[in-house]
């Protein structure tokens, strides 16, 4: 079925567009390369291009920044630092009072690798990036913390001294009587899960064009996605009324998956940069910037306990979350955890639940929205627990799911934490999916595989899929009393306008800010149905302009808002226009308005379709002859709707909240096989089914399901923002942050066995874009748990990790010689350590003297270009270092301590340069041997910044190589400066050969 079907022009009602697989109206320009993305838009003459200098350190004080050399470079108009921004802005506020300050750029301290430190505005991006190298920043590194539970502990380094703790917010929520349920329960079980950091990376990154106007206001073009509750946050930070911050979004945005929420701090920084530079400033984020510093979903540790009976019926859950938001909390964070609060019991009729939430900071990139928005983390814990209970009781996990589901016929159902689940029939969805998806065959496959000794498992997961967030849930950060004082928050306002011009042409604008989802198509379907026209007669423009368009704080594209909210608002506007047109036409058709119908571009009498007028004629009347309109009717044909669902009520005094308006349901099962030899996982079969109420367009819905599944495969098997324990960032390119691509996709069986329309949305539609984010990671984890008979499952399921679960011990080397290399090294990613030794044909005293001698040290340091003594046993140097062709200049601070002449010393140093920063400690010991002196060394080196981000797999080898070269060169240099040996004294020759001076 496609567009042709709509060309019928008879004045008859035809099959509605809504519900049909209509092709996307968005496709032609995109497929022809005629999309309008920010980088395609023309800019004003003189527009500058911005490049950011970013921190190589996870945690450090900024001692000084010298921008003079950068400012003097050709083409550079301004170099703006955090101090400059701080002078002209207020901090970006969050949903509760906190001493944490965040301005989108570091002011006196950096707190994550990739944090902006300065902005260069130059005549092109190349010159701007060239100038970054000339900004001199002196850092004083601080200890970093990356583990969320440790960060909440007493001995962790504190990121924000003003707060005094890394836990920015801790709240305890008690719904029902959980303590009693646990006290009386026959059985209890507790597990701890750890959900990793990940995102979904769009093809197009962040893009901003910012201008400071002569009026004092700001004009911004960006691909910001909303929610527009951030607009007041930006305006306040910029110290202007909202009306003076004009924000426009273009027609096209190249994907977001939530990530483009977090570009708002850049808007503020670039507005100020444009103000200081006196010119418009354009910034197009590159991939390195995006991966290191755009945004991430919060990683989370959850300790979950369940109280249940012998039948596996769960009486209560207790969840303690450590929700890790990286270096700063930025609005609307920590929204994901509260968006899911009402669904803490997922699809189950569990009556009692306690939820304890730590909202905390660590030395990682700050968080933002990512498709799934708190659901993957929560359901990973709940669904792993249901699986674990089944294992404990020796029952099938699906049986445990069944025994706990919300009973059929009990909708709308109020969960203990406050969600009002609007509609559904979970039992039927599961029964039909099991049948259509042929679960019995999959079980037979598992039996067969196991008989053959293969590792095969089946996993299940259910997920309630919320859509359209209640703006009230963010106030969960506050206590009931604080909320009362601050004023309640509730609802979620959607805006849309439909205009019909004097020729009957229809145009629609809305606040849904799409990034490729097909909103224009779905809205055109809705409007075309109401007004009886062809879909191509409806033009939908979803660009936004905060100075001209209708919008409110909930505007934007997030939390599956489109189908319940944006579509409802447009539907209401279309119905109103239809009613108005019917009233206008009623008099000339000579029938009552409620007997007027629409179809084929005509307005006609329902009982006599031949009695018809063309739509454009009726529309023209509203424009050309206002006096001829029915009494009291306003002229023109323009309907603007501002709508908020009454079911989105405020948080109660006991913290119950209906977190979303509509709730879909998903059920997945899968079969996986694990390769015993390699730990690789093969997804043998995957079945997913969704009840998302009325389906507006099955093509768009299935596109969302396949897209969400692909992203979830990434999260389950590949994607992770990896940080070393010292806060170094290790997945800065797509060679290390691994996105699932087409070859990695297993076949997906999609089912829609049931449609339970929402009674609360205008079309009965619910969101569908996030479902597999919730269900797939834990469904696969449950299957792996089933295959291995193991309870502790962590994603992503890397083969190396899985193989260690299968085979915990490694065989030792058969021959001792194989292990007794002179130099061994072990690297935990960016933290490298190793040891080695060289023999120097000199006495320990001579070697010792060399270590402390400026000239000899300079000669011995590989690539040393300058070296000067700056204190007792302390040196400053400039060294040129690298591996192969990858070389760069570093400023080095080196000093020797714990001196035990001439036996041992400790060498400490820091290096920093454009390629990154390292700090390290080396222990040296000198032992006299027959041939001279043996120098033993061992080292611990931390590497951070660019090289660690993009070349992690080579770091260990590179460190080993460089440090080995350092000591070999040192030995050579000393040997070269030794006094001539007496004739016949041959050991030094032999040694020189040994250490490579002679071949």
């Amino acid at each position: 079925m496609s567009l042709e079907q709509s060309s019928a022009t008879t004045a008859k009602a035809r099959v509605p567009y809504v519900g049909q697989r209509v092709l996307r109206v968005e496709n032609p320009p995109l497929l022809k390369g005629r999309g309008q993305f920010i980088d395609d838009l023309p800019v004003k003459t003189g527009t500058l291009h911005a490049a950011f200098l970013r921190s190589p350190h996870a945690h450090a004080e900024i001692v000084s920044i010298d921008t003079s050399a950068a400012r003097a470079r050709p083409g550079v108009r301004a170099v703006v630092t955090g101090q400059d921004i701080a002078a002209l802005t207020d901090p970006l506020i969050v949903g509760f009072a906190t001493a944490m300050e965040y301005r989108g750029i570091a002011v006196d301290r950096v707190r994550y690798v990739g944090e902006p430190v300065a902005v260069v505005c130059a005549s092109d991006r190349y010159l701007a990036e060239d100038a970054l190298d000339d900004i001199r920043v002196e850092y004083r590194p601080l200890p970093a913390i990356v583990d969320p539970v440790a960060a909440a502990g007493p001995n962790a380094p504190v990121l924000h001294p003003g707060v005094g703790s890394n836990v920015l917010s801790y709240r305890e929520f008690r719904h029902g009587d959980t303590a009693k349920a646990f006290a009386e329960a026959k059985r209890q079980h507790e597990i701890t899960i750890s959900y990793p950091r990940n995102s979904i990376t769009p093809m197009e990154g962040y893009a901003v064009i910012a201008e400071h106007l002569a009026t004092g206001g700001y004009d911004v073009y960006s691909n910001f996605q909303g929610p527009f509750s951030l607009h007041p946050v930006m305006a306040r930070a910029l110290r202007v009324p909202g009306s003076q911050l004009r924000h426009r979004s273009p027609a096209n945005s190249g994907g977001s998956f939530g990530s483009k929420l977090a570009l708002f701090p850049y808007i503020v920084v670039l507005c100020i940069a444009a103000r200081i530079a006196g010119r418009p400033v354009k910034w197009i984020e590159d991939r390195l910037e995006h991966l290191a510093a755009a945004s991430s979903a919060p990683n989370r540790v959850t300790r979950i306990a369940a109280a249940y009976d012998d039948a596996g019926v769960v009486g209560a859950l207790r969840l303690t979350h450590w929700d890790d938001h990286g270096a700063y909390l930025r609005a609307p964070m920590p929204a994901p955890i509260y968006r899911m609060h009402g669904l803490s019991t997922n699809a189950y009729g569990i009556k009692n639940v306690d939820v304890f939430t730590h909202i905390l900071v660590t030395n990682k990139c700050p968080t933002g929205a990512v498709r799934g928005f708190g659901g993957p983390q929560l359901y990973f814990a709940v669904e792993r627990m249901m699986h674990a209970i089944a294992v404990e009781l020796g029952l099938d996990p699906l049986e445990i799911i069944h025994r706990n589901l919300i009973p059929e016929g009990s909708f709308p159902y109020r969960t203990p934490a406050g969600a009002l689940i609007d509609s559904g029939d979970y039992q039927r969805v599961i029964a039909e999916t099991v049948r259509e998806g042929k679960l019995d065959e999959l079980k037979a496959t598992r039996e067969r595989a196991r008989r053959e000794g293969r590792l095969y498992g089946i996993g299940y997961a259910v997920a309630v899929e919320p859509s359209q967030s209640n703006m009230g849930y963010i106030s969960m950060l506050k206590t009931g009393i604080e909320r009362e004082r601050a004023g309640q928050k509730d609802g979620a306002v959607a805006c849309a306008t439909i205009n019909i011009d004097p020729l009957g042409a229809i145009s629609v604008v809305g606040d849904s800010v799409p990034q490729g989802q097909g909103h224009q198509t779905a809205l055109a379907q809705i409007v075309a149905d109401q007004l009886g026209v062809r879909i191509e007669d409806v033009v939908v423009n979803l660009e936004t302009d905060t100075q001209k368009d209708g919008w409110s704080i909930a505007a934007g594209n997030y939390s599956c808002r489109f189908a319940p909210a944006a579509a409802s608002a447009v539907h209401i506007a279309a119905v109103r226009l239809r009613e108005k047109l019917a009233r206008i036409a009623a008099s000339s058709l000579n029938v009552p308005a409620d007997r007027v119908d629409f179809g084929g571009g005509k307005v006609f009498a329902r009982d006599n379709p031949a009695n018809a007028q063309s739509l454009h004629r009726v529309a023209g009347q509203a424009h050309w002859s206002p006096a001829g309109l029915p009494d009291g009717m306003a002229p023109g044909l323009r309907e603007s709707v501002t709508w908020s669902a009454p079911e989105l009520t405020a948080t109660t005094a006991n913290d119950e909240i209906n977190t979303s308006l509509a709730y879909g349901f998903g059920f997945d099962f899968c079969g996986v096989e694990i390769d015993r030899e390699t730990g690789e996982i093969r997804i043998d079969k995957y079945v997913t089914s969704h009840d998302c109420g009325t389906i507006l367009n099955p093509g768009l819905a299935d596109g969302q399901i396949h897209g969400s599944f692909a992203a979830a495969i990434g999260a389950s098997l590949y994607e992770e923002f990896a940080y070393a324990d010292d806060g170094s960032f290790l997945s800065g390119t797509f060679a290390d942050y691994l996105v699932a691509t087409a070859p990695e996709m297993p076949k997906l069986n999609v089912l829609h066995p049931v449609q339970s329309p929402s009674p609360f949305t205008r079309l009965g539609a619910k969101g569908i874009a996030e479902g597999n984010q919730y269900s797939t990671p834990v469904c696969l984890a449950n299957a792996v748990a089933d295959a291995l008979g193991r309870s502790d499952i962590t994603i992503p399921l890397k083969p190396a990790r899985v193989l260690e679960w299968i085979t915990p011990d490694e065989p030792a080397a058969a021959r001792a010689t194989a292990r007794s290399e002179t130099q061994t090294a072990q690297g935990a990613a960016s933290m490298l350590n190793g040891k080695g030794s060289v023999v120097v044909p000199a006495s320990p005293e001579e070697v010792w003297a060399g270590l402390l001698d400026e000239t000899r040290l300079k000669a011995a340091l590989p690539g040393c270009r300058e070296l000067k003594r700056v204190g007792e046993n302390a040196f400053k140097a400039v060294v040129f270092l690298g591996v192969g062709p990858v070389r760069g200049q570093f400023a080095a601070d080196v000093f020797l301590c714990d001196l035990d002449e001439p036996r041992s010393a400790v060498l400490k140093g820091n290096l920093s340069g454009a390629l990154g920063a390292t700090s390290g400690t080396g222990h040296l010991s000198l032992t006299p041997v027959k041939e001279g002196c043996r120098l033993d060394y061992n080292y611990d080196v931390h590497v951070s910044g660019r090289v660690a981000m993009i070349a992690g797999r080579m770091l260990d080898g590179a460190a080993r190589h460089l440090i080995g070269a350092f000591f070999r060169d040192f030995a050579r240099t000393l040997a070269r400066t030794l006094p001539q040996q007496a004739p016949g004294f041959s050991w030094s020759d032999r040694l020189r050969r040994l250490i490579g001076m002679k071949r």
Binding site: E744, R815, E821, L915, G952, R953, G957, H961
Partner: protein, 276 residues
């Protein structure tokens, strides 16, 4: 992700290219396909002052099938070699390895010799050169010389090529009668850098295993073919420990060693089967 400034010379002749290299020394980089170089430039890992582009030197674009060798010119792309009709019969090991090199888009531009010069420790083509005992031909204004794989492959991103030299050709030994070849690679996704890559050769009473992804350069061991299974297992275990491997975010050093032990035997067995 914009490169630092550099001069760019698209050479019309070998003499021009060699003169530029002689003039600029370590400040110059040769570019042919640019599949590693351009990314490194954009990430500012390299800062050459001159790029010497040899891609249009037709004299370097060839595959020469002589008696014992297949010689591949410096500008021959991986895609051209992949579709060369003689590949399966003459270079079965390379034929098995090529699909693992990045993606077909990168192979359309990436060259054989470029990959050898780049010397990524996980790369497939350097591993094949090492396992087969191939050679490279280096030319400068001063001289022309031929190095075998062992002499050429010095370390991580490091070769014995001098700054004023161009690798004009690589020579892969052609398949011998009675010999078998096998290749296996493990990576997180298809086309990713190898966690471990293994190349096996069996024939003439010997078995040989080349391993990439563990040490700083591909490493090769050879054993007598009549080694007992348990002795081969011990030998592979020792080899794995010697290679050591490193931890990174994709795999542990231990996993890499484990794959040498487990898959090494499989690759050798497969090579043996092909030999018979």
């Amino acid at each position: 992700m914009k490169p630092p400034p550099f001069d760019y010379a698209r050479c019309d002749s070998m003499d021009e290219a060699l003169s530029l290299l002689a003039e600029h020394g370590e400040e110059a980089r040769v570019i042919a396909g640019g599949q590693s170089l351009m990314a490194m430039l954009n990430m500012r890992l390299l800062r050459p002052s001159v790029l010497v582009d040899i891609a249009e030197l037709d004299e370097l674009n060839y595959i020469n099938d002589s008696s014992g060798w297949v010689e591949i010119g410096a500008t021959t792309t991986q895609a051209v070699l992949e579709s060369w009709p003689g590949l399966n019969s003459r270079l079965p090991l390379v034929a098995a390895a090529i699909p693992h090199i990045g993606h077909f888009q990168t192979r359309n531009r990436g060259t054989i010799c470029g990959s050898l010069c780049h010397a990524d420790p996980s790369s497939e083509l350097p591993l094949c050169l090492a396992a087969l005992g191939g050679e490279v031909v280096l030319r400068s204004r001063r001289r022309k010389r031929v190095l075998n794989a062992k002499e050429f492959q010095v370390g991580m991103l490091t070769t014995a090529k001098q700054d004023d030299e161009i690798m004009v050709a690589a020579r892969y030994p052609a398949a011998q009668r009675g010999f078998g070849y096998a290749f296996r690679e493990l990576s997180r996704r298809h086309g990713d850098f190898a966690i471990v890559a293994l190349a096996g050769v069996a024939g003439g009473g010997k078995i040989r295993l080349g391993v990439g992804g563990l040490a700083e350069a591909p490493m090769v061991r050879e054993w007598d073919d009549h080694l007992k299974d348990e002795d081969l297992a011990d030998a592979l275990n020792d080899f794995a420990w010697e290679l050591r491997g490193s931890d990174d975010i994709h795999a542990t050093a231990r996993y890499r060693r484990e794959m040498v032990r487990r898959l090494g035997k499989k690759v050798i067995d497969e090579a043996r089967r092909c030999a018979s």
